[in-house]
């Protein structure tokens, strides 16, 4: 730290925005390593030639996207940012405004498709910014840390998000049923193999966010809680027995992973939310290191 002036160590708006633009560019053109290796492993497990072909196309597409710096999918999605902000960190700018600007800049640089419209008039804002978009969740944490997680979601998968108010007496079996029901109903539409985010508990405004937050976890990290990790494995096994397969054309791989997250809930409730992420599971992560916001995912 010595030798750096206070100004050098300060995160300016320009530096913050540049890191967000870089994260958006990388996330749209490259998948995190855990997702790529899960796709490769799944391809080997498939016996069905059509299923294998789907994986071939996915992997070939990833190579091309990276090589050409082009968006993996033409549906460049909507953006949800999960920010953890140290309460002792001094920032001299408006985080939300800076993120809006970064999205507008990425729109030209990646480029992104204009995906954001008014829900009633269906008029396109043309900038990927609108009321409540991009979505920013801010969590205050102790100290001077700052991390930004980004979830990129296309509509194919987003349109199959589900929310269930189950009965507490129904228990874990009902949670599993809710997920399987959602996957069967969705079939090939959310671009399987999907990653399934399951939020359990909380209340009607918390649970869907938990389900989305679950999608940030790498496929290599089961829930640290053993009971939840067991439920994740159980649901994954059942889901991969559905024969929905890649793109719904049949096969052994319907999901790449199941991530369950929980929050405490009311004695009379068992809320369950499901968020599906398509196989092109785009996400990003950046962390403040020595005054610099460094993009760590995707590499």
């Amino acid at each position: 730290m010595r030798g750096l002036s206070k100004l050098d160590r300060m995160l300016t708006e320009a530096k913050f925005r540049a890191a967000i633009v870089e994260m958006l560019c990388r996330a749209e053109t490259k998948l995190p390593e855990d997702v790529v290796s899960a796709l490769k492993r799944s391809k080997i497990r498939e016996k069905n030639p059509i299923a294998k072909l789907q994986f071939d196309c996915m992997l070939k597409n990833l190579e091309l996207a990276q090589k050409l710096g082009a968006p993996i999918c033409q549906d460049t999605g909507t953006f949800t940012f999960f920010i953890r902000l140290g309460s002792e960190l001094e920032l001299s700018f408006d985080l939300k405004k800076s993120i809006d600007k970064a999205v507008a800049q990425a729109m030209r640089e990646v480029p992104l498709r204009a995906n954001i419209v008014d829900p009633f008039t269906r008029e396109n804002t043309g900038t990927n910014v609108g009321i409540g978009q991009p979505s920013v969740h801010l969590e205050l944490v102790p100290g001077k840390k700052l991390s930004v997680d980004l979830l990129v979601k296309g509509a194919g998968a987003e349109n199959w998000s589900r929310f269930f108010m189950l009965k507490p007496a129904d228990g874990e079996k009902a949670i599993e049923r809710a997920v399987l029901l959602t996957l069967v109903e969705a079939g090939g539409q959310p671009c399987p193999p999907t990653i399934v985010g399951v939020g359990v508990g909380g209340s009607a405004e918390i649970t869907p966010t938990l389900a989305k937050r679950a999608l940030l976890r790498p496929l290599t990290s089961p829930n640290p809680n053993r009971r939840l990790a067991k439920l994740e494995r159980k649901i994954m096994q059942a889901a991969n027995g559905l024969d929905i397969g890649p793109m719904g054309l049949g096969g052994r791989t319907t999901v790449l992973g199941v991530h369950v997250e929980k929050a405490a809930c009311h004695i009379a409730s068992l809320p369950v939310a499901i968020a599906l992420q398509c196989w092109a599971a785009r996400r990003g992560r950046a962390r403040l290191i020595n005054g610099r916001l460094k993009v760590e995912v995707p590499r």
């Binding site: 030639p49 196309c57 968006p71 993996i72 033409q74 498709r113 793109m247």
Partner: protein, 187 residues
């Protein structure tokens, strides 16, 4: 990519061209395909219901459910990313659309509703599945943008008339016999 035989098709397609296709077979398209999604479908139906002509003859055409990312070049457009969109969103308009236009084949992802699929089969149309999200792979097969219709709908919703070479591999997912690859999973 696989060793399965591939049928090469060049639109406009005849009824016989598509009746020969069976589910599970692979297809590649050479020649013209036309993109259309929600708003272009609505525009086409609005024009045809009013007894007007389309700016493009779609008899025997291949429609691609897609809203691409395009970049303007000095003379034309370059398509950067152009994977398929969810076909089932168009279910409500699908049967009338193919009947009125004479379109022979649809390319999309995720399949279409069971009843609409059966209706398409009766009408002698096929549904070809392209891997969702494989947008750069698709763009690589696009040689040229021939025309773009209805840009007033926005670049993603407009109809792009594309010249393609070996566009695919596409999987015949619903054939004219009514066989449907998406139905095996319903149980």
């Amino acid at each position: 990519m696989t060793n399965s035989p591939v049928t090469n098709l060049s639109p406009p397609l005849s009824e016989l061209d598509v009746k020969k296709l069976r589910v599970g077979e692979l297809v590649k398209i050479n020649g013209q395909i036309v993109t259309a999604r929600d708003k272009a479908y609505a525009r086409v139906l609005e024009l045809l219901r009013a007894g007007k002509h389309l700016p493009l003859d779609l008899h025997g055409a291949v429609i691609y459910h897609c809203g691409p990312i395009a970049r303007k070049t000095p003379r034309s457009w370059k398509i950067l990313s152009a994977g398929p969109t969810t076909s089932a969103r168009l279910d409500r308009m699908q049967a009338e659309f193919v009947r009125r236009t004479g379109v022979r084949a649809l390319i999309g992802k995720g399949g279409i509703g069971e009843e609409v699929a059966a209706e398409l089969a009766r009408l002698g149309r096929v549904y070809l599945a392209f891997t969702g999200g494989a947008a750069v792979l698709a763009a690589q097969a696009i040689e040229k943008v021939e025309r773009v219709l209805w840009l007033d709908l926005g670049a993603a919703e407009a109809s792009w008339v594309l010249k393609v070479r070996e566009f695919g591999p596409l999987v015949v997912a619903i054939d004219t016999k009514g066989k449907n690859l998406y139905l095996h999973q319903k149980h």
